[in-house]
């Protein structure tokens, strides 16, 4: 089963390296990993997809928490969530095939973002399966190149999952804020 983990980490040099190094040495099988800024300065958000038949999601979470730079981790597997992947696909197109490609682009609610004599770049966002399917239907035309970002995800509903606030921080003995209990 696919588990989507969302980790809030400190936005500091080398943190991505720490996470990647952790996954490699624990032999965690990661399907995808994306990271980017959040609205909170100093906090980055990582979206990690794990196949729990190969790698225990609890183990990944517990190990992420051991990294000093990890702020909060949540598993969205049990929460309804929105998942999105983004792809840019450069597909061959000529007079004969252009219309057909454009119709497919319409059907998939994708967008053409670049047109050249014999090719065009299509941008598509959606769940992974939708993008996989779109790539499949474009293949016969000839895919020149393609790039995908990997999944980002967010829980549905009005709460932030995971939740984290930077204000509750430091005292001489240690640190304040824990909104997430670890349970087994």
């Amino acid at each position: 089963m696919q588990h989507t983990l969302v980790a809030l980490v400190e936005d500091k040099p080398g943190v991505l390296n720490r996470v990647a190094s952790l996954f490699r040495r624990r032999a965690f099988n990661i399907e995808s990993l994306t990271v980017g800024h959040t609205d909170c300065p100093g906090v980055s958000r990582m979206t990690i997809v794990v196949d729990s038949n190969q790698t225990s999601a609890e183990q990944v979470m517990a190990n992420l928490y051991k990294l000093v730079n990890t702020l909060q981790v949540s598993d969205l597997a049990t929460t309804p969530s929105v998942q999105r992947d983004l792809a840019l696909i450069k597909v061959r197109s000529e007079a004969a095939t252009r219309t057909e490609i454009m119709q497919l682009v319409d059907v998939y609610r994708a967008r053409i973002v670049d047109v050249a004599n014999d090719s065009m770049i299509v941008e598509i966002t959606g769940v992974e399966d939708k993008i996989d399917s779109f790539v499949d239907v474009l293949k016969p035309f000839g895919v020149v190149e393609m790039v995908r970002t990997g999944i980002v995800a967010m829980a549905r509903g009005s709460n932030a999952i995971p939740e984290f606030s930077m204000q509750a921080s430091s005292n001489g003995n240690g640190n304040g804020y824990h909104s997430q209990e670890i349970s087994f």
Binding site: E10, S56, Q59, V68, S169, G172, G174, H178, E181, I182
Partner: protein
Amino acid sequence: MKYTGAQIIWESLLKEGVDVVFGFPGGNTLPMHDAVLNYPIKHVLVRHEQGASHAADGYARASGKVGVCLATSGPGATNLVTGIATAMLDSVPMVALTGQVYSHLIGSDAFQEVDVTGITLPITKHNYLVTDVNDISRTIHEAFYIARSGRPGPVLIDITKDAQIAQIEWDPTHEEVIQLPGYRPDLRPSLNDFDKAVEMISAAERPVILAGHGILKSGAMGWVRELAEKTDTPVAITLLGIGSFPASHPLHLGMMGMHGEAWVNHTIQNADLLLALGMRFDDRVTGTLSTYAPNAKKIHFELDPSEINKNVPVDLALIGDLGESLQQLVPNLPKIAHTQWNEEIGKLRKESALRDILYTPDNGRLYAAHVIHDILRATEGKAIIVTDVGQNQMWAAQYYKHDFPYKMITSGGLGTMGFGLPAAVGAKMADLEQEVWVIAGDGGFQMTQAELSTAAQEGIKLNIAILNNGYLGMVRQWQEFFFDRRYSATPITSPDFVKLAEAHGLTGLRAANREEAVDVIDTARNTPGTVVIDFRIEPEDCVYPMVPAGAALHKMIRRPM
């Protein structure tokens, strides 16, 4: 007042309660090594930085404080790696300080430059690269906090030369504030189900306590004793758990695992409830996982959530500090007796008790078991025993019975040969009044024998027992059992250890039979200064019992009768 970075380093270390560091100077630590002369912190000069890291480790294990080692950039830093990994795997609180090239040279393959923070990423709890003198004080405070809190471990701080040299206006009385929003070692789940634990313990008929290193880390020895006595539960220990429960206590079973006593492993395999206290079901202890304690429910008392269900799926996890958990649990337990279970175990034990010493041929030839036993008797079980790795380590664990905690210092997780001598230097520096014995083999001792000079220079007294059999014993044993006695790269030539000791200005003694063994131990204890004893023991002796790799815990190779 103006302070240089180097001065701030020592001021900060003083604030953390440091009074000794183990180190080796180099180009990129010159400012630090200059500044220390004006501070009441002792710098012990080692002969190899690996020795510094092991010494800091031994010091930490013996004193309960954070051990500190110091090396220069490049090769100095890389020489610390083995010791840092050793500390990581045994959860030892340690701070390693390394000098680094000038900030503007980083990444340019400068002289003696290595990416030590990259290299030590997997083997440190956390590490820092400090390029700004303003960060030094807070970083050191944070590093010590991380090293000693939660599950302890090594932290490395790489400090560039320009940061050491720079001068700033600094107030040494200023309290540093820790900014680690992602590090919460005091996190306590509210979901620990102690009621279920009481239920499971009350219902068990064949319970066993598995006593591990966590007991010593938490200082929960008293609670463990109460738990065992209240519920009449026998206690098996791991290698690193030695000392957590008195060996002379009637409920003390003995060491479990690959070289544990036979009745201990059988008891675990026959149990219906395992109480795992601060142990992590390491492969040395479980044998093949598919056949491990098949009929036992398991309750895992553990501080580190990532250890839960990592190797062995457990029925109940109680996460948190062991002492705190037991404090919640034990008062709610009923008084239980397991007379029949303990009788069964007693029978098993009689059948195979001390099989090794009882059946070790008494032909006047010297066996390791005799040596350890003699040291035990001479020291009344009160010495600090620091072992190296291999057969010597296993024999020390099997035959030196520890009633007191924090006296067995051994590299369990990483199994680092050469650990013994430098770790003993560190342990001795923790308390110069304590009697410290090193138990090592001729192989492991050679790896770090240069640290004899450190002992000589510091004028400390160590008693060093080298179990000399002319082989890399443990590897030879595996070659005997599994490779048809093909002794590849295991026969080893050593220097004359007596002459070696004397060359270092220390005392050297030799024993080749049982009478001599008892004599030299006595002589060594009464001779001032470090003494090296070359015990010429039976060359092809093996550690029994042994659970071969891949075998079930109860399928042990026993000593042939």
